[in-house]
Structures are given as C-alpha cells and as structure tokens.
Symmetry: D2
C-alpha cells in the first residue's frame, strides 16, 4: 500500500526533526484561507455543515463528552498544570446561620476557580504549539503569543465556530483486546495508524464515514481504564494515541478537528527517540487543526455501539477567554 | 386583568419578606420531580425538545451568546468577584527564543486562569441562592452547599442537560425608546412585567411563542449600551430587568431557563425598599429555575430582527466543575 | 516522675475524645488576656522580650527558616492544598523582543501567585483549628471564621507581634540515630515527649533554656531527609513530631509559639486510634498557641551546633492578609 | 552646587532616553560584585550591619510597615494587577455544623490566596525591570526572566539577606504643608530631590544619617491621605515620589534598598514627556537597588517623631517564591 509505505518512511525514528520537516512541508495549510486567517481547519465548517449536523438529531439523546473539572484529577504539576482548585466565597452553611448580611432571608453561595486551561477536557487553540518558531499560518511565534496571551489566534476567535457533524471512531471497541464485542481498550503505547482508522470506519459502518468539516472523536478506551483503575500517569505517561503516520490522513480528510480520550492525542511514548509530541508540531501550526484532549466519549460510545449510528451533532464551544491558547470545554453530542 | 391585579398586590414595597413569602408559596416546584431531584426546571427538557430544537436549524447560522472573559471586564470586587485573570505559563516569545527545552523545534504556549464563576456569561446553578435557609426542593441550605462546594446540586449534574429550543425576547427592540425600529435599549431601572413579555411576543410574531421546556433569552439592550459607553456600574448597578411580578409567568410558562444581557436578571434597583434580588429568591430555590446572566444576545438579535425568526436551537453547556454553584458558559444558538 | 505518669494516663489510645476533653480542661488559657483577646500566647511577647532578643545578635549571622515556595513542593491536593502556582504576566523575553509597549527601552516583568496559605512554611493562626465548635478564647467557631474569613482573629492582628527570642531544640541531632554527633534525624512516627525536649535542652546547654515568651523551633530532621530522598508523603504522611503528652509542657512553659520542620507539628500517625491532629485541638483553640509548620531549620542548626549557641533573635512576620487563618512566612533568625 | 547642576541637566524633559542613557552610564554597579552576582546592593549588608541594627533596639517597640493584603485594595486591573482574592476552603461555620468529617470534635479552617506579587506591600526584585533589554549586572533580559520565572535573580536568592539598619526619612512631615509640625503630606506630583532628602536628614537630626548598607524608608504622606480619603488613583495615578535627579544620591549613598509609601516609588507624573518610571530603569537594572513600594510607615513615623530617633532594626524578608521578580513582604521595624 502506497500510503503505508510513505508513512513508514515518514517515521525516521532516530531523526524526528527530519520527519517533522518533511511532514510539515507536505501537510501544510498556510495561506489556504488567506494571510489573515485565524481559524485554520475550522474554516471547513460552514452553514451547510451545521444544517447537516442538525439533521442527525433523531432520537434526541444528548451526551456531555466532558470529564469532570475536579481537584481529584490527573494533573501532577508538570508545566505547572495542576488540577482545578474550586473554592467557595459564600456557602449554604453561612446562609443558614444567617451571617451573610442579606435582607429578607436571602442567602447566596458563590465560587471561584483557579485552573490551567489544559487541566481537563479542552481544545488546543492554534497558538498552543509552534514549529521551529512559527505559529499557525507561518507567523512568527513571538508575534502571536506573548505574556499578554495570544494576540492573533486567541481562542475567542473560535467562540461561535465549533458546531458541526461529529463522528465517533471507537478504535478501542473496534480493534481493542475484546475484539470489538465490548468496551474495548487499546493498550498504552498503541499507535493508531491510518489503517486502524479506516478499519474502524469499515467495522462501524456507513454512519462513520469521515467527511470534510467533520470533527472526529477518537475513543481509545484509556479513559475507561483510568476511571476504573485510577489516574496513574494519565497526564503525560504512556498512552494509546495517534501515530505520526496519520499526518497525511489528518490533512487529506479535511476534518475540522479531532479529539481523543487521552491526555495528549498522540501515542506515548512518541514514535521517535528523544521526541516530544511531534504530531502536534504538524497538526497545530502546520495544518491549523483543532485538537481536543481529555474528552470522555464513553457514554456516547455505548449509545453508538447499541444502534450503530456513529455520527451526531457536536457543539463544542470554548469559553471565549481573550488571548487564551486553549479552553476548557463541555462538548455536547446530540443525536 | 386578573394576573395584573395579583401581581401588583404581590409587590408590597415596604415588606419584601411578605411578598417573598407569598410568592414562594404560590410559585413553588418542590417535590414536583421527586425528593431526590437536582435539576429543577431542566426536567422540562426532554428528548422531544431536543428534536424540536434541531428542526429549527434551517439556515445554519451560529451565534455565540457569550461576553468576553477578559481582565477588562465589569467586575469591581464586590463579593470578591473580580474579572478573570488569565496568565501564560509558556509563550511564543519563549518558544521563538529557544528557551523552553523542548526537542526538534517544538514550542508550546500554555495558560492558567483564576476567576469567579460568576465573572462573565454564566449559569446560576440551583445551589446559588437560598430562601430563608432552604435550597432547591426544600433542602436545608447547609446540607447542600458547604465550603466543599455544592454536594447535591453541583452544576456537574446539568452537564448534558441544556440543549433545547431557545426563544429570544428582544424587549429592548420591541418596547425600547426606538419604538422597535432599531436596536432599542430599555433604560436602567425599567421593570419588565409579564405584560411587557407578552407584548414583545405579540410584536415579534409566532416564532416567539414560549412553550414548556424552552429557554428564554431576554435582550434589554443594556449590554449594547455598556459596550458603547463603557462598563460603568454594569456589575451591580441600576439596570433594566425582570419585575418581581413575573414570578407567576416564570412558573406557569414552564420554561427550563431564562437568561438576560444584564448582570443580575432582575430590575435594579429592586422594586422593594431595602431588598436584594428578591426574584432570585423565588426563581432559584422555589422554582428550581436556571438563570443565565451576562449573556450577549446582540448578534443573534440582529439576525432575528432581520428575518423575523426568533426561535433557535440553544446549546448552553456549563463546565462540569464538581460542586460549583454556577458555571461560565458559551451559549451557542444555531438557526 | 509525676509528669510522666500524668501524661501517660493522658493518652487513652482508644478514646481520643476523653483525652482531649481532659487536656482541654487542664491546659486552657481562655480569658487569661481578657474576653476580647485575639493574640493568645503572643501576649507573652513584650517589649522586654524584643530587647532581650536583639541582645542575642553578636556575630550578625542571618538565616532564613523558610522552605521554598515552589510548584515542585510536597502538596498533593489533600483538602485542596496544592503547591503554589507562580506565573508571569510579563517577562524579560518579552522586554527584550520589544513587545511590551513601554517607552525609552523600559522593560518589565510581573508575576502572580495562587496558593493555599498552608502550602509551605507557615503560621497557623488562631482561627485555623476548633475544639468541639469552639475557637480560641471560647468563641463559637461560626462567629469567628465564616466564608468571609476570620472576622475576629485574622492573621493581620499579629502583623507586628512576632519578634522575640527564638530557641532551637535540635531533637534530631540530640537524640537521633547518629547519637548527637552529626545531623541526626528522628524516624517517622517518633513521638517527642516532654522528656525528650528536656533532655535536648540539657544536652545543648544553657543557651537552650526555654523561657516565657520564647518561640521554640523544633528540628526533627525529617526535612533534611525529604530534601535528600524526595518529598514522598511529607504532606500528611508519617512523621516525627510532638507527642500529645507535651500539652502540659506547651502550657506551663508559657512559650509564645512553636514551629517544626514537619508538615503537621504532631507525631504522625497520631497516638490515638482514629484520631486526627489531637494536639492541634488543644494547642490552638485552648492554649491560643501559634504553631509554625514546614519550617527549615537546617542551616541555622548547623551554625548552632558549631558554636553551641542555640538562641537567637527571631522575626517571623506573617503577611497581614485580612481574615486569613494562617500565613506563609519567611522566618528570619539573627544571632 | 555642582550636584544640582548635574542633576538638573540630567533631566532632559523631551528626551527621556538621552537622560536614561547618561544616567545608566554614570550610575551603574555592573560587575561591582562579580559576574555571577544576584544580590546587587544587598551586598552592602554584612554581618556588621546586622549587629549595628540590633544595637538600635532599645525600647523594644515593633512596627509592621505593611499595608493590608485585602480585596478592598487599590488595584484596578492595570497589567492584570488585581487586589488579592482570599477564599476559605473550610470554615468555622462548617466546623460548628459538624459537616467536615473530622473525628473527636476536631474542626478546621483553611484558606487560599490568588494575588499579583505587586498587589500590596512588596519588594521589587532585580528581575522586575530592564533597561534596553538588559537586566541587572548586564545580563540579557531574556536569559534572566522567561515564562518560567526569574531563572537567575529570583527573589528566593534574597531570602535571608534583608536585615539591616533602617532609616526613616519622613519627607512628608519635614517638608510637607504642615511645615514639619504634624503628619505632613507631600502633594501629588511633588518630586523629591536630593536636596529634599538632605534637608529632611538635617531637620530630623543625627539618627537620620544615611550610611552604606542601610535601607531608607521614605514617607511622603500619600498613604495617610488615601487611608483618609479613599484609594482613588493610588495605583498608578499622580503621586509624590523620588525625582529622577536622585539617581546619583541613590548610587553614592551605597544604600541597600529604599522603600516608599506610594505605589511606584518615583514621582508621578514622571518628569519627562511620554516617560514611564524612568528612575526604575536606572535603579533596578543599573544599580541593582532593591525598591520597596506600598509600605506603610505611618505608625513608625509617629514614634520616630515623638522621640526623634529615626533609625531602627529592619527585617523585611521576602517570601522565597522560586523565580519571582518581587515579593509581598511584611517589613518589621524594631527600635
């Protein structure tokens, strides 16, 4: 298979930079939507996609694809990524005791949160990753993201953009150890290749066909595993995930975004020696592709497996935090 | 008109407690969905509502109803409510300079936020307000919201629930000084009565009919004004908003939620002497009604005014922050 | 020895409440400094103590007794205690690149911190612990510390108070496995009794005599161990520390405060079954004693061991955070 | 007077860069303490200074020179500088109600803070300000302060260093409108020149003589004014403060640090057109001088005025926050 051959040669295990350089050249969308573009592959979503997506709503079931935003989360402090810290500034206990100073029996509770934007279910924005000093569309990284935030591609630019057809590729269930019969889970370190994606689509049937402007949700099953066994090294440790060899698929499929149930989207350990998240380096700055991480597709996956419908309407609206390079999100699938 | 008479008598300006006591008795949903209920009026949303909502998507336009989450926001510190503070832990400037320590030209930007959950566009959860020591469904406030957070009705319980038909009632445009011809704005202190709501529905036409399970988005025009003139006292000062006399309408309409473009949903100053947000005290703990505040309906309102369609599919998914009494949200309207 | 007998009987291993009740009755300072008192044992520090302390400065050496405030710290999220998260809002990299917008070559760096007040070296304030619903001086806990903070004994009341004679009791070096010859370390679980304290004083010599108004700094050696071996369970795990039997010593010695190089001051596991920090329950609400935790006495201890002078001038000024029940502190010893 | 002439010519109102360039050349300590130096003028403090300082303690009075760390503070959001947000994670109200889950009547209160390090009383560290891309000692700004923090001169390097003789120069009382008889206050915009400093020393008498290694505390009286009249534009608005012409005095006096009761140390508006804090640009990166801002000298000033003793032992220990470019501090004066 030609694609296979290309992809295998793409991964030069001892020379990640050579592989990245080659892939960045081949799979690149700079200029595709004009010099001023800030949306990347979200440009593939148009009004027609939203109409198409809405038409998928037939039984009216809704699913949140968000993990909890909880202090008992997987983060361990790497890159100062902690779990969210949620604190109360007023409580029902105070209200009940009558010490809040409000009139006529009014009582209130209020709260505050401090969190890294990458702490739980999230979108990576286009300013999140750079390739050799360049941000999305070929801009100098230092012109885009300063200490003030992302001055160009801040996540607020995508506030109204992420409503489209979603497709679940439940690779864990299709190809995992359970042979596709139950809630399969790919083992840590499993690299999902384009062939795995295509085989999953084939097994799942026609509702899984991936088309331009779709957002693909990959279920590896790792999240099912850590929910059962404990977080362990979910944040940054070994994990199933996309192979670097999917770079071409990500490009030619013309998808608007892709999300996984893992911390880091890519297979870990990465497929190169001494590498760090090389596929991010292609996907975000070169393709302009929106990556979702730490999503929870499990409830949706049960429903899809039950009736064989794998596409749905997906609304995954980031909080429009000015200048943010990503955003927590509660993605909603309706079908 | 009987309703009118009831409502007028409902507002005893010198005795807010008497009015609240009476309204809490008449307009109360405790027990309606069982003792264990944590969703209140979101129970009005069912699969049928979601199908109905999706069917409203015809032109495929999408609108974010979120205000920016920005340090230059309206908060002034009251109840320790600050504007969000968004800071970078890695930047493009660092990546470009090569000081991040990543291999093969990989560069990254990361960020952190600290914010009150009520700082910008938000949902009030059911644990946000208490009536004389009682939370939603008659629970003791101190059993529900402690310093640990909302142990019962935390916003995470609503993670997948808020997808339904939305109806914009552009009261500002319909009844504001411009007489409905342009982007009307109600003046601060304008109390929107049930009659104003009904008159707006009538003026807007049949797509504005409010039905069980809908979420109503009220545009007063105050947000248009502060965007033009500066925040001023947007956070807590005088504002147009719902009259206490709408308590019955909120109850009998069987809506799932209601949101405004103002800081505090209710008219301010409140209609009673020495009162503080009395309608909240009915709506949240007694009706179990979800209130949205600081929404931005302006772009949607333009579109609705242009073609006379005032209903749409609304997805307003809170972040599932464990135990939160509210959540920032980026509500998405598609039509 | 009578004291010994009393103390042994004090610890009823199966009935912590009985022991606490008895100790709270015997060792109690409520009312000692008047009904309105907010300072507890800090009242033992007077101008004379400060003059006495200053007179101890002979060689002019200064030591910080603070551990680092660092993201790579010991906290693991228990009670939402994280390590500090320090982020930059402006950097030198930005300044150098010229993107800050300041005139005439001015560049700036600025920063922000989010942290629990108990995350690193700290004082426990008098509102930090309660005994059966009572705070220091017999006040109802709910009258003192609400969601607004400590309304009565907030740490700001001690802003100028904590300058006095300090005495290092290097119990680790005196009684640890090295037999006192080197940097001894007590093993985890080692309960320091009054006899151990007295024996240490005796071994260290006359500069170690503990007097009214002093602040005693206890070195167990655990911090030396974790610096060498890694944090492990430093935050909340097993540790050497004060025995519950020191309650009387803490009372009769009339010290103004006491600090340790451990997370939690007391021996852990605690000496009772099913107990949690029982000595805190006596020391803070009943004695009004200021407790320091997570201090780093190591550099000071080396100097003291070298010349046999164990007393010094101690300035341990909390940040006057309004309503805080404790404060990070950088204690400075000068001798 | 030669100095005067030099200084006047130093201020070229239309050309701040020329003035800064000239001053940076003349008043510069780069290399004075070796290439690796991270302490700047704190090197002037030695053991002898600490002994000298301790000898000033005669009456044993202690003063906190810290302003409150309080949500109701002066910050308004400029450069994302907010007031501190202090929240409780456990309270006495919860403890009293018995909902904390601790055994034997143990109750606890805990708290969290989020704050800019420059929000209230603080030290500027040596990485806080840059001069044309250079940090203290001539290092490239981008080598010193990245998004990770100050990798070289982080405030933790000064943890044990700031104990020395302090001298209060109460310029407000000496030269303010009250003519020295009462709590004088300099008007906003008043530029304190070297002559004003010398005149104050002369009026205050011999205990005010400024010597090598001292820390000078300047009282302008502005803080007295805002405490009385409200914060107004205390954070960044007009203020009395040091004239750019003091650059030479700051250099030749060989002081270890200097602090004021104002937001920004320098006179504001600055003495140049279109300038921003030009004296900072000399003092921090070129002199290596530690600047204290937002100190509260008022209680100390009353005592000094009463008995004419203007020098004291000053302990102003920053929190050793790894990589911070400044630190909140509670400076303690004992005399």
């Amino acid at each position: 298979m030609t694609t296979d051959a290309v992809n295998v040669s793409l991964i030069q295990r001892n020379d990640p930079l050579a592989s990245i350089t080659a892939a960045a050249k081949q799979y690149n969308n700079w200029g595709r939507w004009g010099e001023g573009d800030v949306l990347g592959t979200l440009n593939f979503i148009d009004a027609g996609k939203r109409v198409e997506a809405a038409a998928l709503v037939t039984t009216g079931e809704a699913f949140s694809l968000s993990q909890p935003f909880d202090t008992n989360g997987p983060q361990k402090g790497w890159r100062r990524r902690t779990n969210p810290v949620h604190t109360m500034t007023d409580t029902g206990v105070d209200a009940e005791r009558g010490n809040q100073g409000f009139p006529h029996g009014f009582g209130g509770a209020d709260d505050v949160i401090a969190m890294p934007l990458q702490c739980s279910t999230q979108w990576d924005g286009l300013g999140h990753i750079f390739d050799r000093g360049k941000a999305w569309n070929g801009r100098a990284a230092g012109d885009v993201v300063t200490s003030e935030g992302d001055l160009v591609t801040g996540i607020e630019t995508a506030a109204a953009k992420i409503v489209t057809r979603g497709v679940l590729l439940d690779v864990g269930r299709a190809l995992g150890p359970d042979g596709g019969s139950a809630d399969g889970e790919l083992p840590d370190g499993f690299a999902i290749t384009p062939e795995h994606l295509e085989r999953t689509i084939e097994l799942q049937g026609p509702t899984s066909a991936v088309r331009r402007g779709d957002i693909v949700v990959i279920r590896t099953g790792q999240y099912s595993r850590v929910r059962r066994d404990g977080w362990g090294d979910y944040a940054g440790g070994s994990a199933p995930g996309l192979s670097f060899s999917t770079a071409e698929w990500l490009h030619t499929s013309e998808i608007a975004g892709i999300a996984t149930d893992t911390w880091g989207f890519e297979v870990r350990p990465n497929e190169f020696e001494g590498a760090f998240q090389p596929l991010h380096q292609i996907a975000i700055p070169n393709l302009g592709l929106f990556l979702g991480e730490m999503w929870d597709p499990d409830a949706l996956a049960h429903a899809c497996a039950a009736d064989g419908r794998y596409d749905f309407m997906l609304t995954a609206a980031p909080l429009p935090i000015t200048g943010a390079v990503g955003s927590p999100v509660n993605p909603i699938a309706v079908r």
